[in-house]
Point group: C2
Chain length 395, copies 2
């Protein structure tokens, strides 16, 4: 059959990660491919109790159509925590609840991007953000990242050259895929660029709570109190992704447009689940939970780095992460990690080739290795196997 | 602040219904404004038990990132029921789970509509479908509806005149807002027009299970086994809206594009809730539940029609519905029901003025009166009050 699709469909494709979903979820495969938290760290019993309370309260309104902005007490909790860990003065009117932060990415694309508009992003960056924005037929300019974040001279040059840069998309903490955390200085400087040029910053911050040492650098939104900075957050990494609850923090005027997008897209996020999360946050010590999972992720990361240092050939290098879920491997330039993948899969190990994370897919010698969702013994065995596969092609 | 939004934002606005949300949910107001099912008919205890089972099964995968298509057993249940009540031969590959059918509307807009493309729709039609499609900067042509559905000669004339009609949007059963149910003949004829002209039909069917007598006419998809016909369904009206679970039935090729849209938009629908619904459908007798709620809705509709006949002035006319949630009132041409609304609200009664349901908002003398979510005594009192308000302006 031939159907007459919209032009944007030509740019849409299954994400490489989602294409690998069958392999990633195959229990016989050691998969470094997911961007997932560890299942065994989900506070299932606590979530169950929090959910029971929603049913016990028997608030029928939670089961009915309700408001598009989200459950008020949860929105209040989110701004309070943001204000507490950043010097912002946000109110519940600055929050919209979304189905995970992925929906936030769709919405900012929807309200800001005309066909042909330019999005500046880290090079490489989160692949599914590229998919979300691509639906609105934008163009990307990837900006080099060093160990402090984006190289801002490149940003300034591009702003001087183009008048249709709609926003700058960044992941300031434990970036997906590279693990980079922006320095304080760079965050501040970016906020200034945004303000001066009236360009929006999309600060995607799902790994904020997942520094191994529990430390926080200020959100970029701190430097302009969510005027030009829009911050996306999520419970997916710290609680569990299956709940599908995230949020957008933004200027009230922008939130009003995002609410139109929410209404047109799916009316509202499940309020039963929003109440469940709110109950959980009230019934249990969230910071204690975070401290437990941080320790576990640090442990997995330490193991991954240790085994990788021992079993990967010298030509492979990586920077040890300070939080988040990923090791970003640099292989020699002549290696295409896409070609390596079928060999690794044959030996029972999967990963996502790095080219997926570059908007122009032009760099081929990286591997994103997710350690957060892989059990200790699989981590050790899988990295050894991967090391042997890499060795063979490098020799 | 002045932000540089996408052009489509100019066409976006809060839906008139959502704008009334505060009034609609004010417990001191008798509201005929919602499009909601009756809260007291939600099978909360059964849903609780079905949910407990998800936690008891402790399938951690339900709490993790999972596939974008949706939970396989639920998809299988949906196609089986559709095949059973229609002569279709669909498979699970023809189903995508969405966050209510509203998200299905967004997705078909996303994959089919270029700026300036034409959507044919019933005149009037579901206002939030207009919002969903408007996000993709399409144009609308409203088609007259008589008591059998769209007047198809108008459809044919427009197809002959325009080469950028992307799809025809219809609500074949107990239409929102008019209550119209399409005749068998008209359904078949529309499917033929679609096939002949290779134009997609979007069949939005949330009220399918809500004929008062439990009868079904074939889905339009029966006449081409979901090739050019895309059918949207939902658990929102028959179970409860708070779950936010609906579905799209379509040709596999189209489903593959819709999956890209799902991945780019929000990755996946909450699988915990999908499993909860599947458990509910297995643990309880869904048809018995439907039969109970149909009786209740019929009762409310009977009351509404009876009181309206008695207390509305003769110049107001309406057709008695055979299912669904709404009475569609025709007032004399010179009455603008938007102007009437503040008077009604002052006396404690709210409704949605009919102009919101016309794509060009050009017709002003209708009221959509929702009876499904209003308790018997409020229904009686509210209609009497509304009758007196109408009388005053008609006299």
């Amino acid at each position: 059959m031939e159907f007459n699709y919209a032009d944007r469909v030509l740019q849409m494709d299954a994400s490489d990660i989602r294409k690998l979903m069958k392999i990633i979820t195959d229990p016989n495969m050691i998969s470094f491919g997911a961007g997932s938290p560890a299942k065994n760290l989900f506070p299932i019993d606590e979530l169950k109790n929090a959910n029971d309370l929603v049913y016990k309260d028997n608030v029928l309104g939670a089961f009915q159509y309700s408001n598009s902005e989200g459950y008020v007490p949860l929105r209040e909790w989110i701004v309070e925590r943001h204000n507490h860990t950043n010097r912002t003065m946000l109110r519940k009117e600055n929050v919209l609840i979304t189905n995970g932060s992925q929906q936030g990415l769709d919405f900012v694309g929807k309200i800001f991007l005309n066909k042909g508009d330019i999005v500046l992003c880290e090079n490489p960056t989160y692949a599914s953000a590229l998919s979300a924005f691509r639906s609105y037929e934008c163009e990307f300019q990837g900006i080099t990242i060093d160990d402090e974040g984006m190289v801002l001279s490149e940003v300034k040059d591009l702003i001087a050259k183009h008048d249709n840069i709609k926003f700058i998309y960044i992941i300031p903490n434990h970036q997906n895929p590279t693990g980079t955390t922006w320095s304080l200085k760079r965050r501040k400087a970016l906020a200034e660029i945004a303000k001066k040029n009236r360009i929006i910053i999309i600060e995607d911050d799902p790994y904020r709570e997942l520094s191994f040492d529990g430390s926080y650098l200020p959100s970029v939104s701190q430097f302009d109190n969510c005027n030009y900075v829009i911050t996306l957050g999520s419970f997916s990494k710290a609680l569990c992704p299956g709940l599908r609850v995230g949020w957008i923090l933004a200027n009230e005027e922008i939130i009003s447009k995002l609410i139109y997008a929410k209404q047109a897209t799916d009316l509202q996020t499940n309020e039963i689940v929003q109440r469940q999360i709110y109950n959980y946050l009230n019934m249990y010590n969230y910071d204690e939970h975070l401290s437990i999972i941080r320790k576990q992720y640090k442990k997995r990361c330490d193991t991954a780095c240790e085994i990788a240092s021992e079993f990967f050939p010298q030509v492979v290098n990586f920077i040890k992460p300070t939080g988040g879920f990923f090791l970003w491997l640099n292989l020699p330039n002549h290696i295409d990690t896409k070609d390596l993948l079928p060999i690794a899969i044959k030996r029972g190990v999967a990963y996502v080739p790095g080219y997926s994370f570059y908007p122009d897919k032009s760099i081929h010698n990286n591997i994103r290795l997710n350690y957060s969702s892989v059990a200790e013994e699989d981590l050790i065995h899988g990295i050894k196997v991967l090391g042997s596969v890499i060795k063979e092609v490098c020799d």
